[in-house]
């Protein structure tokens, strides 16, 4: 999950609500910080002593509020202050007609929008870096590369309300996008601007495109692609901001705005809501005031929490633990009603609250207890067969090999002269990164030839084996292929001969307790007349032979190789 960069003194100042001036806060030790990071499932990945930059990885993909300096500091601050100080703007009505009008038709393109204004916080260098980073991380990871959620931040002073969110023809609107010098139409932005090229596919197939304009018909941005350079470029020193979020999931859109509102408020800004007016009713109504507390709460039996954690806690302890973690809690008789803070929306199940109780109290507060149940351990039948076979092969003087199962059609099929044969069918991958790793092996011999080809300097004779999984295409199987365990063996040296490997096979089958017979087979990977199908109880379960010289040539192997492949899964099923 995301790794973010924050600055230590910025973080320290945010530990006090409203953000105190630099230098007036006591520095935090790295040990203390690492301890605190347990509250946010964070891990310190790097610390630059000179610049004070900290790199922190956040694990929880359901807690986007923590992917920023403000969020991390907030979670720690609440713990220290004992309770979350409520954000006033979630209870407020809109001020001075700050409204945003959504035009019809957007429900087919990018339906939802949320916005607010932030006044009274003068943007600092670190604050700006955090704003940009949070915008990127939320849009990229939480917003699925801007598909579900994207964010725009503007200089409020240049905007006249009401703002409109509407659809225009691609060449109907034009503005100078961020990062460009000239005025461009939306169509041009999609074709030329790097962000247009990167994210344009989100709007593929749309004849009309979304645009945000102000009351004077001045374009603010072309969501989710790019902001206007005129209005949508925030600089250090700006103290009046307009924030908007657009997207396809209304709850995620509002939550994202809530996070930005809380972050700016933590830095000292006064947040004023915006009323979004939809043409039709939405899950949150026709007129939606944002930011909005989505009021996710749950009543939970304290007993449920105690059972899950294996420890008696009582209502009071649970209530306190949740409050210092940011919840709004009211205690009942043997129950607690826990309400998430407005910047969170990750309460799906009582167990989510249980974990927060544990994290809030600290995992160290819970003494480990050994599970007392008695169970019988054991290996699967195929693993037992496979272990037995491996033991016998070691006794026969073979060195075990472990190979990647993923490889190339060239090595598993083409070099083996198996193109267009039944033996050459494989499970192939649609989105391979390279041909080298684009299919699963269907038999073992190529894995062993891989080692043989790379080891002509290792002293001879070479006796190699591998017992492992292969994938055999099978149209009758529900998954289109069967995963089976195959034992492959090769002997390679100047006078390697069929009878040598045959003797090994014979001993192997004798001690596995299986009668087998060999039937001549024409297999393209082997010399004709020197290959046999291994048959047990009338069923073919493998092949043995002298590897065809053309195969050896293709692998650039310069000594004769004899081999067998035995399907241990099928062998096990036969008894």
């Amino acid at each position: 999950m995301p790794t973010i960069s924050i600055f230590k003194d910025d973080f320290e100042s945010l530990l006090t609500l409203g953000g105190r001036a630099k230098g007036s806060v006591s520095p935090v030790s790295i040990e203390q910080l690492e301890d605190w990071l347990m509250l946010v499932k964070g891990e310190l990945k790097g610390h630059n002593q000179e610049t004070g930059e900290l790199r922190i990885e956040l694990q929880d993909s359901n807690r986007p509020d923590l992917w920023c300096c403000e969020g991390i500091a907030r979670q720690i601050r609440i713990k220290q202050q004992g309770k979350l100080k409520p954000y006033p703007f979630f209870a407020k009505k809109t001020k001075k007609g700050q409204s945003l009008i959504v035009a019809p038709g957007l429900e087919q393109v990018r339906p939802y929008v949320a916005a607010c204004t932030a006044r009274g916080y003068r943007v600092t260098e670190e604050g700006l870096a955090q704003l940009i980073q949070t915008q990127e991380k939320l849009a990229d990871i939480f917003g699925h590369k801007r598909k579900t959620v994207s964010i725009g931040i503007y200089q409020l002073s240049k905007i006249a309300f009401p703002v409109t969110y509407e659809l225009v023809k691609p060449d109907q609107a034009k503005f100078t996008p961020l990062g460009m010098e000239t005025v461009m139409t939306l169509a041009e932005i999609l074709m030329v601007h790097p962000k247009g090229l990167e994210h344009g596919h989100i709007l593929a197939g749309q004849s009309r495109l979304p645009i945000l304009c102000d009351a004077k018909n001045q374009p603010l941005s072309f969501p989710p692609i790019i902001n206007s350079r005129e209005v949508g470029e925030v600089r250090v020193g700006d103290d009046e901001l307009f924030v908007e979020v657009t997207g396809t999931d209304q709850l995620m859109v509002v939550l994202t705005l809530n996070i930005f509102a809380a972050n700016l408020a933590d830095r000292g800004a006064t947040i004023e809501p915006v009323e979004v007016q939809y043409p039709k009713t939405t899950p949150l109504g026709k007129r939606v005031i944002t930011p909005q507390d989505l009021g996710n709460s749950k009543t939970i039996q304290v007993k449920t929490i105690e059972q899950a954690l294996g420890q008696e806690l009582g209502v009071k302890v649970v209530k306190q633990a949740l409050e210092v973690y940011g919840y709004e809690v009211s205690a009942g008789k043997g129950t607690v009603k826990a309400k998430l803070p407005p910047y969170r929306q990750d309460l799906m199940h009582a167990m989510d609250v249980v974990e927060d109780v544990a994290i809030s109290r600290g995992y160290g507060e819970f003494a480990p207890v050994m599970p007392a149940q008695f169970t019988v351990g054991g290996l699967s039948r195929i693993e037992q067969t496979s272990d037995r076979a491996r033991e016998l092969m070691v006794g026969l003087g073979f060195q075990e090999i472990i190979s990647n199962i993923m490889g190339s059609p060239e090595s598993y099929r083409d070099t083996m002269r198996l193109a267009d044969t039944e033996w050459g069918r494989m499970v192939e991958v649609e989105n391979a990164m390279t041909l080298t790793f684009s299919c699963l092996r269907q038999w073992m011999l190529p894995s062993l030839l891989r080692v043989e080809a790379a080891s002509n300097r290792a002293f001879y004779p070479h006796r190699l084996f591998e017992a492992g999984d292969v994938a055999i295409p099978d149209d009758a199987h529900e998954l289109g292929s069967r995963t089976e365990t195959v034992l492959g063996a090769v002997i390679a040296h100047a006078t390697a001969h069929f009878s040598e490997i045959h003797s090994c096979l014979d001993i192997l089958f004798y001690h596995l307790g299986k009668d087998y017979s060999l039937e001549p087979v024409q297999h393209p990977s082997f010399l004709e007349g020197r290959a046999g199908r291994i048959v047990v109880a009338g069923k073919p379960i493998g092949v043995i032979g002298e590897v065809h010289p053309e195969v050896l040539e293709r692998w650039q192997i310069t000594v004769p190789v004899v081999s067998f492949d035995v399907n241990l899964s099928q062998l096990t099923d036969l008894s």
């Binding site: 347990m38 799906m348 819970f366 149940q373 169970t375 699967s380 075990e400 199962i405 499970v427």
Partner: protein, 521 residues
């Protein structure tokens, strides 16, 4: 080295040579052939013994003589039973003269098996001897005289055909013919060859004389190099001496049958888990998105389900169906929680997407299948499963790798027993006494834990992750008791223990490396 130690180190062949010389009058000098006869050794045995004795300075070379020897070449051997070119020209000339036929030099040169240059050389020599005339029309005719060259060649071919002879044993006239008909540089087709034979003669050094006296006085028990069944059978080993070896020499290399070092490590883990009461689970390399992700409550819009994270199968692209009732229950869990007590992810679950075939990307898929197959309660299960991730292959990422994962089901399972189980793993698998538990995130567990241990040699490291399966996972699969899901990250521990720094080396193709890497206990 004193004499008796020296004597002990002598090989039987060496003793034979020393005795052959030592039993003769002091200062006896013998040539190689004479020495072979005296010591009763084959030439190859003798030459070995001589080299060893020279190296030990028990024997010295007295003299080295060079003798030119005459022998037959391959061509010469053919002439013994057939006829040489000069003989053929000579008899052809006699025949045409007596029958009155005409024969030109080109006719001769065209005859089967005759080389034009040999014909020219023969005609020239015979003409010079007055044996042959060239008459009108370039025809040849015999004068009726005998040819000394032809006669000498015949005699020489007979004389040398048995064995090579010293050049100087031939009369002067014969030596001249040999000279003319011997292979030289640029003329390889002649019947004779003259080689230098180098003959060395040997005598004992003073140390050799001392050794010989010692051997004569003490007598030699017959020395043998190898105890044989025969020696044991008739008890004659009692009268033998066994040659001593230089035991400080390096042992010869042999290839051995051996488990792969990484497998040995995994086998140890496997044995530990079985001893702790875990039953092994097996799964399929190809899975549906349903079992790989949906059943684990990973929403279909989860970032880790992207084409850039998972490998999709080319053909067939989808499974025919997902077993009931799991598909409908999981669908509900995702959409609105169903009967799990959850709100669900609140999105429209795509059943077609659930059937999409992928390469198993996490071992937890195997656990999901087990949960759905009415597992025992209480029950403990594990798998060592090969998994595939869409990653650029480098020192820390392999295309496929092993995941050691499992589940524990039981009425008494809770957060504290989860920590207890992890403690057990830390002690048994990593031999660690100090453990740290950190909050963690996995889409399918709540609460989730990451376990760090202080390994006796490796210091603090992450050993694994675990948690209690979410109700959204267990209830749709028919399991009503709490379930621990755990996974151990053993790759790094194995790599450090095996002394390798690149994950790709776990599956290396370098046989030397595999043969020489020691396993871990």
């Amino acid at each position: 080295m004193d004499t008796s130690a020296l004597i002990d180190s002598l090989h039987p062949l060496e003793i034979k040579v020393i005795m052959a010389l030592g039993s003769r009058p002091a200062g006896t000098v013998l040539e190689t052939e004479q020495l072979a006869a005296a010591a009763e050794l084959e030439p190859s045995q003798l030459s070995m013994a001589i080299e060893w004795l020279l190296a030990k300075s028990l024997l010295v070379v007295h003299a080295e003589t060079v003798t030119p020897m005459v022998s037959l070449t391959k061509v010469g051997e053919q002439y013994v039973s057939g006829a040489s070119p000069i003989e053929r020209v000579f008899s052809a000339a006699r025949e045409v003269t007596s029958t009155g036929k005409r024969l030109t030099i080109p006719d001769l040169q065209a005859q089967d098996g005759l080389d034009p240059s040999d014909v020219s050389k023969a005609v020239g020599r015979l003409k010079k001897e007055g044996v042959l005339l060239i008459v009108q029309g370039g025809c040849i005719e015999s004068t009726g005289r005998p040819s000394p060259t032809v006669e000498v060649i015949r005699v020489l071919l007979q004389q040398v055909s048995e064995a090579s002879r010293e050049l100087k044993s031939f009369p002067e006239a014969h030596r001249q013919v040999i000279e003319d008909y011997a292979v030289k540089r640029g003329n390889a087709k002649e019947p004779f060859r003259v080689d230098d034979r180098v003959t060395r003669s040997f005598m004992l050094s003073p140390a050799g004389v001392a050794a010989a006296e010692h051997l004569a006085k003490e007598g030699v028990a017959e020395e043998v190099s190898q105890l044989t069944p025969e020696l044991l059978k008739d008890g004659s080993w009692r009268n033998k001496r066994f040659r001593k070896y230089t035991i400080s020499l390096r042992a010869p290399r042999i290839g051995t049958g051996k488990k792969h070092p990484y497998r040995e490590f995994l086998d140890t883990v496997k044995t530990k888990l079985v001893s702790m009461g875990f039953q092994e689970m097996r799964g399929s390399l190809v899975e549906t998105e349903f079992w790989n992700m949906d059943a684990l409550f990973m929403p279909q819009f989860h970032p880790a389900r992207d084409v850039h994270d998972v490998y999709f199968v080319k053909h067939p692209t989808h499974a025919a169906k997902i077993a009931a009732p799991f598909l409908s229950r999981v669908t509900k869990a995702h959409q609105d929680g169903g009967k799990t007590g959850s709100t669900g992810w609140k999105y429209a679950f795509n059943a077609e997407r659930a059937k999409r075939l992928v390469l198993r990307s996490q071992g937890t898929a195997v656990s999901a299948r087990t949960l759905a197959s009415a597992p025992a309660v209480p029950g403990k299960y594990f798998s060592i499963a090969r998994c595939f991730r869409y990653d650029q292959v480098d020192a820390t990422h392999a295309t496929d790798f092993f995941q050691v994962e499992g589940i524990v089901l039981g009425e008494d399972i809770n957060f504290r027993t989860l920590l207890g189980l992890l403690n057990l793993f830390a002690r048994e698998v990593a031999q660690a006494k100090e453990v740290k538990f950190l909050p963690a995130y996995f889409p399918f567990t709540e609460p989730s834990v990451e376990m760090h241990v202080r390994h006796p040699r490796l210091g603090w490291m992450e050993l694994g992750g675990a948690g209690l399966f979410r109700a959204e996972v267990t209830l749709p699969l028919g399991v009503t008791v709490p379930v621990i899901a755990w996974g151990l990250g053993l790759d790094r521990m194995a790599m450090v223990a095996l002394g390798i720094h690149d994950i790709r080396e776990l599956f290396t193709d370098n046989l030397d490396l595999i043969r020489t890497t020691r396993g871990i206990f």
